[in-house]
């Protein structure tokens, strides 16, 4: 029998029981849609986070922070991933000092330069006396910082002074207009008060000083992992030393000659070893590989759950195939009496399941995609994750093909047994069946 004729025959059998076929297909649709929706959302989320990471930390920079945990000393006072003077590594914690930069510079020819950063969380008060928290008040050498992050430490208004006066500061975009709706909290040229709660003395003291905003940064987005961030305030390093009363660095940013994975990894190791494993070196690459591990685990887990629903659909297919086999016993007898081979009977039944699986998978992929976009829209509206992250679902071709293959595969696997039974029917017995 010709393939096209097998197909036409199978299709005529499906058409006979439209509702039943539709319901079975629906099972596949639900399973595939769930898988596609979950995967395209997690992959979209991963892409968003990776993108944010890349904006927050250049690929050719390393962040050295005190402490020896995997990603660094945990979220310290400084906020963000950067760690700070907070808790964290406990007894294994070494201190980093501002003047370590010259030692680091001489560690490897791959290092272009390194710069020390002091960062504490604090508050900013504008001319009308309104106070808002800022993620961090960062002490850093403006010229070096601009050199290390040439695309993000860039003024949108005012200008970043190369030789700043003690009271010159630069603020992130969202410090200037926190609500993103045009209402300005502070702007370049204004004087503001910076406030830091000194908790190294008892009782705690609120240290303040009046600063002059010389520049507002361009909007960056991202997490501010070491690099410039939208929600921080930047002051000259020397001023930070005085203001915070310390010569400890909360992190040292190391600029490399290249973003080559080998260079990144070997320099990381060199630095970690130099400090006797008492520091952590963070690189965008390392964070990304950790994240992608997390994401693939999550995807696998969610996909696995969705796959179970597809198994249920498979059992549904098996069920109707067996019903259909029983209903059509006599028909199979006729086909065999007319000289149809067992193999062709098998093909006819499998083709029926392939048609159902294929239709289910195609409709499932489409509806999963729609579902993913609806969910992303909901999340993007500030639902769960907040407006900082917008997810654009991603449907990769291999996911699409995989879903198609999986849908059809499950359908065929579960149809194998009924199809095999149909093919093994003896013509006389099948013809006698009432």
């Amino acid at each position: 029998m010709k393939i096209l004729d097998v197909f036409a025959y199978s299709f005529s059998a499906i058409k006979l029981r439209k509702l039943r076929a539709a319901l079975t297909t629906l099972g596949v649709v639900i399973g595939i849609a769930a898988i596609v929706a979950l995967l395209s959302i997690t992959q979209g989320l991963q892409a968003t986070i990776t993108d944010q990471l890349e904006r927050g930390l250049a690929a050719d920079t390393l962040i050295v922070i005190p402490g020896s945990s995997a990603l660094g000393g945990g979220a310290g006072e400084g906020g963000g991933f950067g760690g700070g003077e907070g808790f964290g590594g406990g007894s294994t914690r070494a201190l980093l000092y501002i003047n370590y930069t010259s030692q680091i510079n001489s560690l490897s020819p791959n290092i272009v330069t390194s710069l020390a950063v002091i960062q504490k969380s604090g508050y900013i008060q504008n001319g009308s006396g309104i106070t808002r928290p800022v993620t961090s008040i960062v002490g850093v050498d403006f010229a070096q910082f601009a050199n290390a992050f040439p695309t993000t430490f860039v003024a949108a208004s005012g200008s970043i002074p190369t030789n700043p006066a003690d009271n010159d500061i630069v603020v992130g975009a969202r410090v200037s207009y926190p609500r993103l709706n045009g209402t300005l909290f502070v702007q370049a040229g204004q004087d503001v008060t910076l406030i830091w709660t000194n908790n190294t003395v008892i009782p705690f003291v609120n240290e303040t000083y009046t600063a002059h905003i010389s520049a507002v940064l361009d909007r960056i987005g991202g997490f501010g992992l070491g690099g410039p961030s939208d929600t921080s305030v930047y002051m000259p390093l020397s001023q930070a030393e005085k203001f915070f009363g310390t010569d400890e660095a909360d992190m040292i940013i190391v600029k490399l000659k290249s973003s080559d994975l080998d260079v990144v990894n070997s320099t990381s190791t060199t630095i970690t070893n130099y400090f006797g494993n008492q520091v952590s070196v963070i690189s965008a690459t390392a964070v990304q590989s950790l994240l992608s591990t997390i994401f693939s685990t999550v995807s696998l887990f969610l996909g696995g759950i969705a796959a179970i629903s597809l198994l249920v659909a498979g059992i549904g297919i098996m069920n109707i195939m067996i019903v259909s086999l029983i209903e059509r016993t006599r028909e199979i007898g006729i086909l065999k009496a007319l000289g149809m081979k067992s193999r062709t009977v098998l093909h006819i039944f499998l083709t029926e399941s392939i048609i159902i699986g294929l239709m289910g998978a195609i409709i499932g992929i489409a509806s999963g995609w729609v579902l993913a976009n609806v969910v992303a829209l909901f999340l993007g509206r500030g639902g769960i994750i907040g407006s900082a992250l917008t997810i654009t679902p991603i449907l990769r071709p291999e996911v699409m093909l995989g879903a198609l293959g999986f849908g059809v595969g499950i359908s065929v696997i579960f149809a194998l047994y009924p199809a095999w039974r149909a093919s093994k029917l003896k013509p006389v017995e099948a013809l006698r069946y009432e």
Binding site: Y9, L338, V428
Partner: protein, 228 residues
């Protein structure tokens, strides 16, 4: 010499097991059918007529004995080879056995589609055959929209579609009024005159006399075999 023999049965036995009780449907049947022959098989209900026809039609295998079809021993054939053999045999069942969801034309085409003939060829041949059996204006009707006699004629057209070596008919007129039965028998005789070998099971003495040879069965054996 055996080349002209389409069917050669030697001491065929068929025993069905009803649970643990053996039912001997055939108890030693020997029969030779030559090319171009027209046999009618008579006998009371339960005498083993359908059982014999099923064996000759390669739908079932004998418990004992030898059955040669076209000189080939059926017991040596694989499932696949049996299917190939069935393609050379036209079988008309006692109860039509048409596919209900197919039109008359599609039912006739089905046997040709099974052997892999092209759509165009199938269509042409199906329409020819339906015209021969007098159903030219009923080709697009489904079995449920046809009378018993019309369904039987569709079944005959289907059996003839692949130019079978021989035609096996199990009570082709069993469920049909005598007028339609006469039409069908003249159709069958016509086919036989054109050289188709025919074995026809029937209850009807009158119809049996239309054949060239009458085989009488009784209780699983052939009790008489006469040339009319």
């Amino acid at each position: 010499m055996s080349m002209a023999l389409v069917v050669e049965a030697v001491d065929l036995k068929k025993t069905y097991m009803l649970g643990k009780i053996p039912v001997e449907a055939l108890r030693g049947v020997s029969l030779k059918v030559e090319k171009g022959d027209f046999l009618s098989v008579l006998g009371p209900s339960g005498s083993g007529k359908s059982t014999l026809l099923n064996l000759i039609g390669a739908l079932d295998k004998p418990t004992e004995g030898k059955l040669l079809i076209d000189g080939v021993d059926v017991s040596t054939l694989s499932d696949n080879q049996l299917a190939d053999l069935r393609r050379k045999i036209g079988f008309v069942f006692q109860f039509f056995n048409l596919i209900p969801r197919f039109t008359a034309r599609d039912n006739v085409e089905l046997s040709m589609s099974i052997v892999g003939k092209s759509k165009a060829e199938r269509r042409k041949r199906a329409e020819e055959l339906l015209e021969i059996v007098g159903l030219k204006d009923r080709m697009d009707h489904k079995p449920a929209e046809l009378s018993g006699g019309q369904q039987q004629r569709v079944a005959i057209a289907r059996a003839l579609a692949n130019d079978p070596r021989f035609l096996l008919m199990d009570e082709p007129t069993g469920n049909i009024d005598s007028k339609t039965a006469k039409e069908i028998i003249s159709l069958i005789k016509n086919l036989n005159e054109k050289g188709v070998t025919i074995i026809m099971v029937t209850h009807d003495q009158h119809l049996a006399r239309e054949a060239k040879r009458t085989v009488q069965m009784f209780d699983g054996v052939i009790s008489s075999d006469v040339v009319n």
